[in-house]
Amino acid sequence: MADDAAAPVTDDGLREEVRAFLENQWTGLLQGETERKAWFAKVVEARWAVPRWPTEWMGRGLGDVQARIVESEFAAAGATGTGQDRTNLWANTLLAGGTQELKERLLLPLLRGEVGMCLLYSEPGAGSDLAGIRTRADRQIDHFLINGQKVWTSYAATADYGMLIARTDWDVPKHRGISFFFLPMKQPGVEVRPLRQITNESQFNEVFLTDAICPEENLLGELGQGWGVLQTALAYERSVMGEGARGPRSGVAESKNEEPLIALAREAGALSDPLIRQEISKVIGLKKLNALNTARAKAEMKQGTSSALMSLGKLAMSRILHEEARVRTMILGAGSLLEGPDFPRAEDANFLTLNAYFTSIGGGTDQIQRNIIGERVLGLPKEPEVDRDIPFRDVRSG
């Protein structure tokens, strides 16, 4: 991406241009998927979707400072669609690693939100150890044949493409034999089965791949270099996540003026219990501390200091969710025995209890997260890795 020096407009000129566009085009409300797509198409067409991108791909080659001006104007108007050069995982990954052919076919549709996507990374045998995947991609004349099983895939049933990592070389160490694909999902070799979660919902799927076909031009990056492409993709994903954790399920309206835990305790007649008050204080405190950390992280990043705080957020959130579930349970007492729509408070506490594992396990367990913080932030040495330098076919599996 170009830096500010390359941008031909002044900040003020740019600001005026965005404002003019928004004044002319933005109606202030998008109703339904059709209107949304139409608006996104307009934003793309006007080159506001990805202002940091090169002009070749509907960008403007702006630097970060000017791109933030665009984003702040959109935000001020309440309009969506810009900033995709930061947030659109799929398009950014494709731009970074895709073949010319694939970019021409999919890049603009992805920006317009017309393509359904999903992630085909994790496998039953490769969770924390993502590089241990055993799904294979075998090269044929002009395509790859994919066989294996993926898991924890959201939106697999409706997706047009899945970002897939699969092993193309079994004779090199594990990180070096992986390739990265845009796999077409609507084909006979792809079978999607909903996965019933601990919470009794089915947000995720298992995906069984049996001689699924992936065209040659859907390979991103070089053959065997997929681990690097994946790191790029994961970085985009992380930058978007953060506030990803879900709150209570029941949707009971909570007083906007009061901390939910205080409201809950009041409702349960437990707000005068000194034990409960201490517990409430701890949990609200943890939440507030996390919010303060996040705010500090953002401020530090603006100043250009790279912040240790960013990587702590997920770990903190995991603790907060488990703790909040515990305290909600304590407040409800025997009331937490129940569930279902007639008992929304119990439903909340129980759902949170289980769904907290979505954060403490999903996207890297707390344990992996502590490894990362210890090694990347604090600079502590890694553990000896027994499988790092041996051909993948010799790695123990199970």
Binding site: S122, D129, R196, G269, A334, L338, L354, I361, Q367
Partner: protein
């Protein structure tokens, strides 16, 4: 209280374990927990035939004449197998309450049928506050000639939906007393509530002039309730200890075989140290449950303290073991099909039934103060 000879106790334990290994497998539990009744009537019959349902009932009324130690042992097995059944409600809580009240007529009328499993009873001891203290009782009794009628609500009544008879704590003109009510009588509305622990059934019971028979007793009625609750808490403690042990077992087994980064996840300190800490929790829970049972059986002076300790220590241990076990498994235990969450659900239920941990910790201090006061 009573106790059996060690060999008899072992016989009960082994036959229960065998029966449950055979007929309360994970598949059985998952099937049974989704049925309306929530228990397997055939298995119930088999347990009654084995003597487990009438375990604590005096032989004079057709029971095995056992006591807290045997109850604890049997519930360790039930907890390990996640048994779905009204054993706690009928065989322990209701039978225990009847024997603690010791109304000869009521005993003759009810205990033999409870013991042989043909009649299911349960006890309704708290109201919407759910604290299992006399002040939380929300049923009133009024005399109507020779008979009585009940009004009000009882909450968190375990297995009321399959019970034939309810033993109801109600405030009468002369204080709190226990009343026998036919669960299907007019004026009794049993509304099952969906439970977070699918292996447990709970109902709200509304009484609207329900006909009731007062159970006579020579002691304050709540004392008898406390005695029955002590027995039920020992049963729960055993269930928690047994359940926790089982969860730790399968978690450690998984950690030995699940490989990531080319080695078993149990070789990493993060997992290994969690397992070590959980072993301490599990063994402590077992010690606490068995000690409470032994002291109660011996009517020891510290029996109440031992029960309170077991109540909070086993509850906390079972919840912690299940919660950490899910984390140790990783993604696989985030699925419905993995058994870990079934145990966590059970652990969370057990931790609330008959009083939460903070309640028992407070009562434990009271006991310690009283013991040395």
């Amino acid at each position: 209280m009573n106790s059996l000879a060690a060999e008899e106790r072992l016989a009960f334990q082994h036959s229960t374990a065998r029966l449950l290994a055979d007929r309360s497998t994970e598949v059985d539990v998952r099937r049974t927990m989704e049925t309306p009744s929530g228990y397997d009537a055939d298995l119930w019959k088999a347990m009654a035939d084995l003597g487990v349902v009438g375990l604590i009932i005096d032989p004079a009324y057709g029971g095995a004449g056992a006591g807290p130690v045997e109850v604890e042992v049997v519930f360790e097995e039930a907890g390990a197998a996640l048994l779905c059944s009204p054993l706690l409600s009928s065989g322990v809580l209701a039978a225990g309450l009847l024997q603690a009240l010791d109304d000869e007529d009521a005993n003759l009328r009810l205990l033999p049928a409870i013991a042989d499993g043909s009649l299911i009873a349960t006890a309704a001891l708290t109201g919407p506050r759910g604290t299992w203290t006399p002040g939380a009782v929300a049923v009133r009794a009024r005399a109507e000639g020779d008979a009585c009628r009940l009004d009000g609500r009882a909450s968190f009544v375990t297995h009321a939906h399959v019970a034939d008879v309810l033993l109801v704590a109600a405030n009468a003109a002369d204080g709190l007393a226990i009343f026998e009510v036919e669960a299907r009588a007019a004026g009794v509305a049993v509304t099952p509530a969906p439970t977070f622990d699918h292996t447990l059934r709970i109902a709200e019971v509304a009484f609207d002039g329900a006909p009731a028979r007062r159970i006579s007793t020579s002691r304050p009625a709540w004392d008898a309730v406390e005695e029955a609750l002590s027995l039920a808490r020992v049963a729960l403690a055993g269930e928690q200890a047994g359940g926790g042990r089982r969860v730790l077992e399968f978690t450690v087994d998984y950690a030995k075989t699940r490989l990531q980064f080319g080695r078993a996840i149990g070789s990493y300190q993060a997992i290994k140290h969690m397992a070590a800490d959980l072993l301490l929790e599990s063994e402590s829970a077992t010690s606490a449950a068995r000690h409470a049972a032994a002291q109660l059986a011996a009517s020891a002076s510290d029996a109440k303290a031992a029960v309170e300790l077991a109540a909070f220590a086993c509850a906390d241990a079972f919840v912690k073991i299940c919660a950490d076990a899910i984390q140790m498994h990783g993604g696989i235990a985030f699925t419905w099909n993995h058994p870990a969450h079934l145990y966590l659900r059970r652990a969370r239920s057990d931790a609330q039934l008959f009083g939460a941990a903070a309640f028992h910790r407070e009562r434990y201090v009271c006991e310690l103060e009283a013991a040395h006061g």
